[in-house]
Symmetry: C2
């Protein structure tokens, strides 16, 4: 794809006919196993996408066809039955080799076969296939090709079951279309969780029938005082449905008991003093709290958890719990002891920010660690102890993968309270060994949060998320043995032309040998 | 400095010993006249900066020495008297060839001589000399050199007397240090006006003794709700002094009668209903107005104009007057009829945004045009009529040089209500012919405004200002005959390594053939 040496770039983004196909290992996240060999397969105007009789394979086949048709200009009919071409097959995985999300991709001159024991596995295999084709395959208009897939076999499955990205739609609101665009970007990297931070001081973004002013009033502004917005239940279900079609689970977050000014402003009775504060459009944290001593607070929690759980086919409901600086420790523990059972009552499993470890995490709960290298030993010890007691851990260390941190001092937006997080720093750590004392089995995955105090539109979002999000995805998916910055930066550089083709407005970090545009 | 052809860059930012010196015409803004010829001068450890007996030449010599010493490592003593070296001389300009700000720079193996009839001219000549040395001259540590200046003569003077940049310190506050850093960046491009937008709905940024709550309360926050800030009178005088040392005049703007929420929030009596609104941290415009019918309003205006005029050695005081959507036309005219004489009473000349043309601009007043190509004919006609009647014009068309507009859809911050303003679009227009019907003599200059709704720190400011500000500077300085995008982009590209050396965090627009880093 490109040749780079110190300071000199030669262009190579449009491979000439006859150029070598993309090497089988030029994929992000790095596959678990790659065995190159044999001649490539070439997609032509006669290629068919052959699916087995299952609806899962057909659906994935139609998705793949929709990706390939605009740029190839080929018909690519999706048809059942055997034969040459691109084949998608659900298979029995008797030895459990592929797991719930793994796949095998075999390429030879007769075709490319993707097999998996689940539709998620097929889908992830299709994402790998996309990256094995020239970047131009992602364009929306017909490109010259050729469309060849290197010969060989990829056998792949994720390291962690939870590979997430969080989008803060509370500080600045993002529309359904904007969220769906992000979902498509996440799916490329086999991310399987979209965590939506739906509520914060600056906005309540989800309609609640039993407390209608939460969205109508609490969602009416945002940081900087714009008009804000909220999702109707139909909107939200559309996001959930779209995410599911890309094999992402949506985890809704209702942040409590702090970060609740939008709710407190909407209903005076939720305040200990009975007086509603004004809506808040600033960026301070830690000043608001639900009234832990009032019964109405728990009626409120029951209602919003019930309604949001009913919109959530996934397992988890995130209850926040961070930066509750206006709540005493005693009240915080009391609050969490009453609220976590409500989540269970409506059939969901609790996730909380790692401060929940200072209370008693419910059975099965996950805590999301967002500390820094410099976080105090006592706070880390609480998290380690919870993990030793069976609480699962999602790793989102702020000085590693908070996607809203500036890359360096020249980054024109973003924050820097956790320092600068350049591309290498965001990639070059191991989730398995990150918090000493945590049992390996307690680490359930990795998530890249993107807070939006300084981000008002998709251009800003994409600039901060890419390329760092690809690193978060690789940390969550790829075996530790594949971890290597020098090989990663080459694979990452190959994503540049793909992002250009897709219109993703990424940051061209000088740490990465991007091909010339 | 660099070689560029389609898509291929070769590095050349650190010229090897023996590389050709920077060509005499590789300067932004383009000099009026360049006559290359003869062998270069080389600055060595023995070089002296020789000044005539005037304090102006000595001051400029010391300034030049301070620029050159860190990177050359040479002593560069500033000494009076004749001899070889770098010579700065105030000269009589009997034929008026150089004007108030022009200079002549002659370079041959014996030395470089900068002559001018004013200290501003000497200073601008020094800026040209900086650009004729390798970019590494701007670094803060000793560099290898060699430090050669191509042989020949530059004779230069500005097209317009007013060449400005506006910084909005109201939406987000910028500290004295941050403003002074920006002043240094402006001086590089011979900009001679720093227009400070000191007051707006979101903040009042200058201490007023007679109305102390303006700064204490009205300056206590900003867009997004941060702590805001204000300049004490000492702070402000420090900025004015620093600007003067770089030959910039500070034009203070007190925006009236709209954009005044910070004042209205600070003093209830300024409101028609006598009730103070809350401080505002959003980004809407057009909702606030001073109470035109109350006498206290004019006491207020008299006080703030008097106090700010007393801090202003320059000619101008900007009274805003834009987007007064909450003021009727009749009230607007009445207000401006009462306020403009107050400015004159305290010895200053009015500048207003071009809406002032809908009232009666005072004699000698300037109006600042910020319309678009698509601005209605009636609004443009008002401005043209005012210009025909003797009102001077500063050109700041929003779809050309509003520096807060996004470059393109991928710009991660900035606004786009005036469309995208890429580097070429910001350069490729002619102030002389911009508004048909305006007499050439009415155009006094060009200004690039930078509004800070989305800009919270110097990284964001520099990303939006550079490279576009260099184009605004060139439009204000260079003769129309030098205007040429193809040659401009090459000269602009040469600024990249200078900005890198200075730590200016500019946008590496793909329209410009930047040398590889």
């Amino acid at each position: 794809m490109f040749v780079a040496s110190a300071g000199v770039f030669t262009t190579g983004s449009a491979p000439a006919a006859g150029a070598a196909p993309v090497p089988l290992d030029r994929v992000v996240p790095a596959p678990a196993s790659v065995r190159p060999g044999g001649a490539p397969y070439r997609i032509t105007s006669g290629t068919r996408i052959r699916v087995d009789g299952t609806p899962e394979a057909r659906r994935t086949g139609e998705y793949l066809a929709a990706v390939l048709r605009p740029s190839t200009g080929y018909a690519l009919p999706v048809t059942p039955g055997a034969g040459s071409g691109i084949r998608l097959a659900l298979v029995r995985d008797a030895e459990g080799e592929l797991g719930a999300e793994g796949y095998r991709l075999r390429s030879d001159p007769r075709g490319v076969t993707i097999s998996a024991s689940t539709s998620a596995g097929l889908f992830h295999g299709v994402q790998t296939l996309r990256q094995l084709l020239p970047a131009a395959v992602e364009r929306g208009t017909v490109q010259p090709g050729p469309w060849r897939v290197a010969g060989g076999t990829v056998t792949d499955r994720p390291r962690y079951a939870y590979r997430g990205a969080m989008l803060d739609v509370a500080r600045h609101f993002f529309t359904v279309d904007q969220v769906e665009r992000y979902i498509d970007q996440l799916a490329l990297y086999k991310i399987n969780v979209l965590h939506l931070h739906l509520t914060d001081d600056q906005g309540w973004r989800i309609a609640i029938d039993s407390w209608p002013r939460l969205a109508a009033h609490g969602g009416s502004t945002q940081v900087g005082g714009g008009p804000g917005g909220h999702y109707t239940k139909d909107d939200y279900q559309e996001i959930v449905r779209y995410a599911a079609s890309r094999h992402l689970e949506v985890v809704p977050e209702l942040d409590m008991p702090g970060h609740t000014d939008a709710a407190l402003a909407s209903y005076a009775e939720l305040n200990c003093d009975g007086a509603a504060p004004p809506l808040y459009t600033g960026t301070d944290v830690g000043f608001s709290s639900l009234c832990v001593s009032k019964d109405v607070t728990y009626d409120f929690v029951d209602d919003v958890v019930r309604e949001v759980a009913a919109l959530t086919p996934g397992r988890y409901l995130h209850i926040g719990g961070d930066e509750a600086h206006s709540t005493s420790h005693e009240d915080y523990v009391k609050f969490m002891d009453r609220v976590q059972p409500v989540v269970a009552e409506y059939g969901k499993t609790v996730i909380g920010w790692h401060q929940l470890a200072a209370a008693t995490p419910a059975g099965g709960a996950l805590v999301q660690y967002w500390g820094l290298d410099s976080t105090g030993a006592a706070e880390k010890a609480q998290v380690v102890r919870a993990a030793q007691n069976g609480t699962g851990l999602i790793l989102s260390p702020a000085d590693r993968i908070y996607l809203d941190m500036k890359y360096d001092r020249s980054t024109p937006l973003g924050l820097s309270w956790a320092g600068y997080v350049d591309v290498r720093r965001s990639y070059d750590w191991d989730p398995g060994g990150y918090l000493p004392g945590v049992p390996a089995s307690a680490v359930r995955g990795v998530e890249g949060p993107l807070w939006t105090e300084t981000v008002a539109d998709p251009a800003g979002l994409e600039y901060l998320a890419f390329p760092r999000l690809a690193g978060a995805a690789e940390l969550g998916w790829s075996p530790a043995a594949t971890h290597d910055w020098q090989s990663y930066r080459v694979r990452l550089a190959a994503q540049g032309p793909r992002w250009d083709a897709l219109g993703v407005r990424y940051h061209r970090s000088p740490q990465v040998p991007w091909p010339a545009r």
